[in-house]
Symmetry: D2
């Protein structure tokens, strides 16, 4: 049984197309800067939002109409969902997906039973992956929804909970390995605190590092050459999430000698919840050789929570792709739609359209970013702007050849220092608009 059979495979028809079930900007095989679009973008479906998200919010129950969920429950439903997921991805041309263990199979009464359920579903996923050539971008564990994780997983004050989380991560890594996943993500879930009044932050962070080290050791042990990622987020569900932002995570990884094993999976909505632009978070990660993968969504900057909207803002898409191109591209990573249709967009058609607009937005963003780079718009300006460090006193500073005394002498000997130049922000924003609006 097919659930999207009335829709043809989504095709590129160009920016004038009036048909919602077509791509306006995403032309998978089109070559941009020497590579097909689809290799630049590596779009991924988030199993949780797209296959299991019901549309609940703190004040409302599920609204999503998912015909495939109506005929079965438990393992049967989980199996139907696998079929639907691959049908959906094929229809839309998504070549990657991501999942938490808990997304794909129901939890059993014991870990043993849960793992059995997982194995059964993973068998099915494997078949579908072979059939469709769709790949696993990364796997992960849900160690935050179940009440046992009420006080955190690896940062729980309850050692048994740490142990449980470890066992769960072990299994999720094994599954990811089996399915040939390129990466494995740690999103902080409830690794954080509600109040410092009852929290030993130092100890909890040490335990967080312990779990990550075990993961590194275990991957090595099973010869799994995986790229680990941490996904920063500043708050929600906890009042303070330990993986606050890129800078915090890089610091934590370095302090624990984990930086060689981890990169960052950066989410747009988490960046802005931390009061950073997405461009900042990407740039910071890239500057520290830590740019790994991207959770492509967007938030509402006038709201204070994680709205996980499908990405439609072209500025964000352009600057995201600009930073990715500038960093030489994502290698193991991709663009995962950690995004959910709005609660009132409850039809299965909305699911398709939301992914199409997400893909179109980043495709348009890629084209524009490539144009900007090929024309050297920002690079030429940078060269000009920092040229005082290419020679003279500037070069000496950069070469660490001078200290305070030399610099004081230099200044005391000059009648006037070199004049500053305009930052030209309005001009640069104007040019950016020309590239976007056309």
């Amino acid at each position: 049984m097919k659930y999207f059979e009335n829709v043809k495979k989504i095709k590129y028809e160009g920016s004038k197309s009036l048909d919602p079930y077509t791509f306006k900007y995403y032309n998978a095989e089109e070559i941009i800067m020497g590579k097909p679009m689809k290799e630049h973008l590596k779009f991924s479906m988030a199993y949780w939002h797209t296959m299991t998200g019901g549309g609940t919010d703190p004040f409302g129950s599920a609204t999503m109409i998912r015909p495939w969920d109506e005929d079965a429950t438990g393992m049967e439903r989980a199996k139907i969902r696998v079929k639907v997921a691959f049908e959906f991805m094929e229809k839309i041309g998504l070549e990657y997906f991501c999942f938490h263990d808990a997304d794909i199979a129901p939890q059993g009464a014991t870990l043993e039973e849960t793992n059995k359920n997982l194995d059964e579903i993973v068998d099915l996923i494997e078949v579908e992956m072979k059939r469709t050539k769709i790949k696993l971008l990364w796997g992960t564990t849900n160690a935050f929804t179940h009440p046992r994780f009420v006080n955190g997983a690896s940062t729980s004050p309850n050692a048994d909970v740490f142990a449980y989380a470890a066992a769960q991560v072990k299994k999720a890594i094994e599954i990811t390995h089996r399915l040939g996943g390129a990466g494995y993500v740690f999103w902080g879930g409830r690794e954080g605190y509600e109040t410092l009044l009852n929290t030993d932050m130092k100890f909890e962070l040490e335990n967080l590092a312990r779990l990550l080290k075990m993961a590194v050791d275990y991957a090595k042990e099973i010869d799994f050459d995986v790229q680990f990622y941490i996904e920063p987020k500043p708050k929600e569900p906890t009042k303070h999430q330990y993986d606050f932002d890129s800078a915090t995570v890089v610091s934590f990884l370095r302090a624990n000698n984990l930086d060689n094993h981890f990169k960052l999976n950066i989410e747009t909505n988490h960046a802005t919840l931390a009061m950073h632009t997405m461009q900042h978070e990407l740039r910071f990660a890239a500057d520290n050789d830590m740019l790994g993968s991207v959770d492509a969504n967007q938030g509402d900057l006038l709201l204070g929570w994680d709205t996980d909207q499908f990405p439609t803002n072209i500025y964000n898409a352009v600057l995201t792709m600009y930073e990715i191109l500038r960093a030489g591209g994502l290698t193991t990573g991709g663009l995962n739609f950690d995004a959910k249709v709005r609660r009132p967009s409850f039809t299965k058609e909305d699911l398709l359209i939301a992914h199409i607009v997400g893909m179109d937005t980043y495709a348009a963003g890629l084209r524009i970013a490539a144009n900007l780079l090929e024309d050297g718009v920002f690079e030429d300006n940078l060269k000009q702007r920092y040229r005082s460090y290419d020679s003279g006193i500037g070069k000496k500073i950069v070469n660490n050849e001078v200290g305070f005394k030399e610099l004081e002498t230099y200044i005391l000997n000059r009648k006037e220092i070199e004049a500053n130049e305009s930052g030209k922000q309005e001009l640069l924003e104007s040019i950016l608009n020309q590239y976007i609006i056309g």
Copy 2:
């Protein structure tokens, strides 16, 4: 002496132009929906930011290089600035300007002297206006910078300060009248409080209303058919500004029977400081017949203060122009660039470029908004979405023909209520992108 003589009058050269001193989208005489662009947009220069703004911020002194300010002080400088202002507006094709009394002439030791200064400068402005056909969009009073207004102007606990503000507004209205200004704006300045511990809010709001009534009476007395505006802002400089947002101001005006004499001057950056989209504030005002004029700028939604940036965001420009077109256009109002160049954009060339990008952004926004309206993109969807109120029980509700009992009976008699329909947010955002990116 001319300060922009090395720059030609800014002309429209289309979206491919590489010359910063050209319009890419603003084509003043181009007809959009039956009217030339320039009549839709009515761009205005803000005298304060453009002629007197120095680039200070809470941590820094002035950075702006304004050659015309270097040769003179006091009244002489004020006179030079008038010349420069009109040269600048002519060069760029700005047909309107706005000013506070304090922007154009130095304050004297007494109100008498200040008024004398004002008269002398107004003479000069009048000559320039005749020469250039440039018009005054609106005038206003600065009753917040001087230390006498430390505790507010009309809401000061000091009755003499109320009196002083009244005298100052009187003069500013006279000047606006003399210069043929179409409007007069009240921006709340320090009409608000720092702490409720020392504030009688009710009394202060009554005094605020008193001053506005005096203004209405006085305009009538001098036969000045002016459109008064209030400009909402939620905070800054005070902790709480009384004119918080559109809803608050509309409420205040109605409660004081002032709503027939006032409309709103809505500023983009103030809208977002109040956690509203600009579209919301415009829509609310239009729905209440209160949409008057627009302060066209933009804020940084990741910052918490009024950055007054030149508007470059195309989404905002499209939706602003969409709301304005939908409301039948601004009549007495226009688009005033209450925007300042960034502190590091300190050259006079940046001033030109910033206004160009602002005008281009709204021009592109106008074209796109007109296309959206002419194609009925959102209107057709609305008709469809609310059609259940066109007949049956919906029509009865709208016609106030039913109450709780009839509606209960109606529901109890139905097996199932009409199914809801998707809100289609992602689809609408996708179509909006097609109109923008092209």
Copy 3:
């Protein structure tokens, strides 16, 4: 069967008590400003949080351990909960409660069945109320959780949904009437929008007013002398809630001639989500004769969503009680704990303790506020601060005896205006601290 039998009735033991199951500040019968504490405070249990809240959040399932929920489902569970609710309220000395229809009884397959369920439970509640003398502070309807309200209730684009909401409100008003409720609250639920792109805000607000008018008419029809309330909230669950803040709601009520029938139910956490202090919202309501009732909780100002924490901040409690005392007290209203224990506070003991700390905080706040008022701390300062309006030009302003001309003449004739006086904020905050810290 009793669920709190191991706990004695909570008693006042004073501020040194080390027993968590005692009041440290709340001494119900103690006379403050001529009235027992309990009449000033009128604490109310929120049925939804306390009896039905499970501790779910957007990333987690229920954590609360509620032994009484374990043995039954459906109507049986609903009945047990009634018993538990009254046992709990008795134990703790809560004399009021509030509920949504959906809190007390399961929804049936039809409205008829739902109403039947409600009637059965209301019978039981009535018995318990008689037995215990516990009263209903206000009733309300949940018209936001069910998927039918996905696009709003009275503001839904689906007329059938309006009708359904009307029928539901009708029943809830009847129940409230039957139980002798003093008030009935409208909290906006999903009366708002996700995006203006698909919303006719004007029409939706008209429909919102229509429903409220029907409610007023129906209460009159059944001779129910109830106080209606609207509870402002700026956002969440929708992107924009129509009942944004006190000023917006007062404006809406007046525009629709509903202001004589409604007051405000002001929630602390909603105030701060709207970027107002609670004191501001209370003051604004009181100044407009609209202060009705209070939802006593608190938010985390560093987070951006409605955390509904139990109130423990003493500053907020003092200033809330100060505004209430200053306004002459709440008449029909009270202090309803619209607050939930933190998700990790999942034991039934936490439920008790959370209510105790909430009651203690407001009790301490009441005492301190009464001391401040009796000593005239802020009032004396206000009299002094605004004294310039008691005579001379100030009096003329207040009496509307002068206009711009007279005020200009007044200023021109004065050599110097009256000097301003310090706002003394630091001094007032210092004194406030003395009253709090002791």
Copy 4:
């Protein structure tokens, strides 16, 4: 000539005192946990706010009435201010002060002249310090106000500006050395960016590190055993400040091998601008052995900019002092009032009162924090809460004796994991209130 001669030296008179010019809680010599209050607290006057702050804001000119500024300008005024500063500190019992170079002496036409001015004033300060025994807590440089720093100081794209900043820091370090300063602070000023479109963040951060290394080298060279500090701030004046928060700064210092030479100077208002509690920032610093000194002020969490208010919130003071005591106290650091009187608090009396309330608030906070610690309120709870790591599987985890396999086996072999315990947040907040309200 004395400016505070009508006020007696401020003395401790206890919490019932009605005299504003007395301490209610600060009793300098009172022994708390084995040390006099004044050694715990080491209050410091901020020269910039208290001696040079005029009360300007982005919309207003100076309001502060400072009689000592009226009779002189330039160097003469600078000298008078030194006298006033020490008179003020003596009167109030402040034993420390902090300053930027630019606070104490006017800038000359050249660096040489500026340095000469500095030397002359430093001579005078030295005399006053000897006379009064008042000490320098830390010195710093203002490398952000002057237009030359428009694009940053050490992160400027202009190498000459880097050189100038270096020369200026050199001098400021020398002055600090000469005056026996215990510390030297780097606050980021304009070390950040307005837009990434024109910024090479990586290069700018390298240059920032270069300057800090030069400072370390130079201090060594002149045998100045100083404690360097960085003061985190997330934004303002720039859109993004590089020293975002404690985590970011610790990361930066470690990446550049500067962590042995620097600690953090943490400011309350900067913590909350970064969306952290002050307690979090202090705890994070202490956990990383980086807690150095504190800028004691407070922000308004409903506003989005740095308000630098005098600290009056008792919760913040208690938790700040709790973290400091828990960390073993500040060694080289102290509590510097980086706070300004509100703009309407413009009298010299307000200056006194503001410092008194600041000192009283932290004194009360110290007493309460000491009581909490001595009673082991939070510590006992922590021990209990984390006890599962003291033995069994928890101990093995902490001792790094187990990995994923052992933990999986452990879980698979257990029927049920250890139950979680309540986080008891409401109870802890309740107890905290008892200690505060008394």
